[in-house]
Symmetry: C4
Subunit: 262 residues, 4 copies
Amino acid sequence: MADKLTDIKEELALANRILAHEGVLDAFGHVSVRHPGDPGRYLLSRSRSPALIEPADILEYTLDSEPVRPPTAHLYAERVIHGCIYQARSDVTAVCHHHAPSVMPFVIAGKPIVPVFHLGAAIGEEPPFWDQQDEFGDTNLLVVKPEEGRSLARALAHHSVVLMNRHGATVVGNGLKELVSRSIFMCQNAEYQLRALTLGLVAPLPSGEIELAGAISRLANVVGRTWEYWSARVPGNKPTAAARAKRAKPAQPAKRRKARRR
Amino acid sequence: MADKLTDIKEELALANRILAHEGVLDAFGHVSVRHPGDPGRYLLSRSRSPALIEPADILEYTLDSEPVRPPTAHLYAERVIHGCIYQARSDVTAVCHHHAPSVMPFVIAGKPIVPVFHLGAAIGEEPPFWDQQDEFGDTNLLVVKPEEGRSLARALAHHSVVLMNRHGATVVGNGLKELVSRSIFMCQNAEYQLRALTLGLVAPLPSGEIELAGAISRLANVVGRTWEYWSARVPGNKPTAAARAKRAKPAQPAKRRKARRR
Amino acid sequence: MADKLTDIKEELALANRILAHEGVLDAFGHVSVRHPGDPGRYLLSRSRSPALIEPADILEYTLDSEPVRPPTAHLYAERVIHGCIYQARSDVTAVCHHHAPSVMPFVIAGKPIVPVFHLGAAIGEEPPFWDQQDEFGDTNLLVVKPEEGRSLARALAHHSVVLMNRHGATVVGNGLKELVSRSIFMCQNAEYQLRALTLGLVAPLPSGEIELAGAISRLANVVGRTWEYWSARVPGNKPTAAARAKRAKPAQPAKRRKARRR
Amino acid sequence: MADKLTDIKEELALANRILAHEGVLDAFGHVSVRHPGDPGRYLLSRSRSPALIEPADILEYTLDSEPVRPPTAHLYAERVIHGCIYQARSDVTAVCHHHAPSVMPFVIAGKPIVPVFHLGAAIGEEPPFWDQQDEFGDTNLLVVKPEEGRSLARALAHHSVVLMNRHGATVVGNGLKELVSRSIFMCQNAEYQLRALTLGLVAPLPSGEIELAGAISRLANVVGRTWEYWSARVPGNKPTAAARAKRAKPAQPAKRRKARRR
């Protein structure tokens, strides 16, 4: 477990840096994973901008968002977003909260983001909105109280993304790499959807395409290629010796590959 | 005082470089702070593009924008912006004048920038406009004369930002870090507001949210995280040994942190 | 042939990196060339993001998109795009499939990209659309089956570009450098066309201008200048000693150049 | 003269690199200066992308755009733009031809660029258009023939900028630094003008402001600050020892500077 925990902390720190470099996160935003050995715990960095996060910054929390060990640093004020979602969704093992620039116009105008290209199908049919004003009146829009986190988790329901009016968005995934892909593709989708509006009406993908294309980011071929690319783009990223050896010999043995039928 | 002056000059030079790197300043624009020991003086670089400013460039001025020591370099022609605002506003200890790309469309079209997301609330309800043409007729739009600076300060009044038609904007703050945050969040807000217009009508945050969210940038947690991030992004920024030691042991001692109630 | 194959693999790897750096390709997309010695074969990397591709990644395929040697790595699922086009178009010796951001709004809105400036004439009069839904109903929009690749090639017909609804585009060329130019100019053209719509109606170039300007990217002067520039921009690109020697003595001898008549 | 020629070639090479880095030039475009010792000659690089130009690339031409010494490299096909303008305008000592992205939407839609902020006044009241189609019918839109260059120069007339439909723009200046400033400010102006249109009607600066603000880029204070900044931004730019020494002791001696009256 110790090795597994070390690995997941390294991967989570890298995920933070990837999402910062790809423009999903900036000074703000955060990414967590459910503890690999205990579903009643999750891992999240101390309060630090994602681009700077190192494995040693990763802390362990209960699902009530209490730190397991006494903290020696500031904590993210909005960590209840993560804890409440892990409580509500047993299928979710990774969560990202962000204010990505391409998504902000939609949560400001209160207009839906819909999948408009194949990779954007990762967000599902139509992410729901959540407006903190509805249940809590005037606030500073930070999700800090447990009841606010629970309200957000209710709005998320079974979806992959919840849009937070005048604030940002929260993305969930089964697996950290799926979460990272979904977050990046969501931002690309939002960007293209907005720009396409200059050209005319924009329709979402048909439901059948959404269902099928939504699985693209889980194809083994795709996961390997994207993770390698996004990792390599992170400034100063030095892969572990183990990772480099693994990359030199990709997983698939010498099997003859025909152009695959679906 | 000498040490304090050295520190504030280093911080002001860094603030210039941060705002340049974050796209608020470019070849033009400038940042000043009120002298920490004498409210009748302020500190501002000699005429140099912000990205290149070093502590040795920082000069001391009277509130009449006269250099305290004989200058050996060009001075900013628009330094009266700073002096006149320090004269008019005893609560202001930092001032930034900029032509940030995301703000320019608004000061060109003469349309208001309003807070549209939580961090944008840092600009206040609705920054006023100031048009140099109104009092001074045709000019080259540079604020050079003391009477022009005083006119601008009158338009700023009690606000945090004043928009300058066909020119740019001036931002004030109580503290340099608050000023830097406000300037950066203002630019993000303007960018999102403009892009959201493609999607439909855009409403500002409700007044209650503006009041509460406007204080986010002053939360200790947030100040530390953002300053560390923006500083780290400045190319070639080498933190002082003191700052590095301070970062290694974040300020908060080992206190148990419950998810905080507001 | 061995030397020629080594050279073409180096050039193809570089073309991948150029197109990644110029924003045409990202985590996804791919570039191939027809085998210089055997028109029944083509060269395409194993499944890897273009920015990372090295000559050793380049594999050889039959036009049925079967790898010639047993693969030891994942292959691009959409390689049939390349094989089917090489089968249908004997004049084509290079193919690029991409999801370039500037093109995506058009394939999402289903609006044509037309040449709007001289370099954009490289795409021809008006690239056709291909919608996978028409022949194949709901799919994940990846072109994986041979029949899907053949359908795409039919839509491409004699054109230089085919737009793929809700997916991206495929570009062809006679020569790798022509393909790279065409891909980059296509993206610039799409970007300018979209932005010009804010200003009013946008008309394509007259047909006579399209025909003449379409040949610009093949002018010897232009090919040399652009390839040198795009190559130099690729991070970490170290030209071969042969290439450096060739650049030091450009091809044209000491001939007196008058301002040329057309 | 030899030293002066060496200096001007270094400055011209740097100007090319500055304009490339600031996004005015890319693979295409070029900058020239009139020969400092002979108004019947001008200096222009051999055909090479501006970002890569070194002093050794700079060649000397007659105003008929004939190279003075036998060339050993490709020449810019469109050099007649420079020669014809130097012939027509004795006040012009620097010329830049570009396809800058922010300007392209205007020359594609055929809509005027007007000064909308103080620095944009550098372009003058309203640059004229020139459409190669009018006199020459269908061409590839490259300005290659002397008669085409002369036609362009007639359209430029006494203006500072001429917009070239479906192609790009040409900018002139009295002095290389003025030309570089004008080119960069023109691009910023175009960008802001386009974006401001999303907000509503956009009016140009009043004529009196255009006249006064148009001189900003010539203020000694401004020239020094901008040139230092743009030079420093060029990757790998190593200032000569002479330039570094000059920068350490800025030109103005110890004179008391009062806030200046206009």
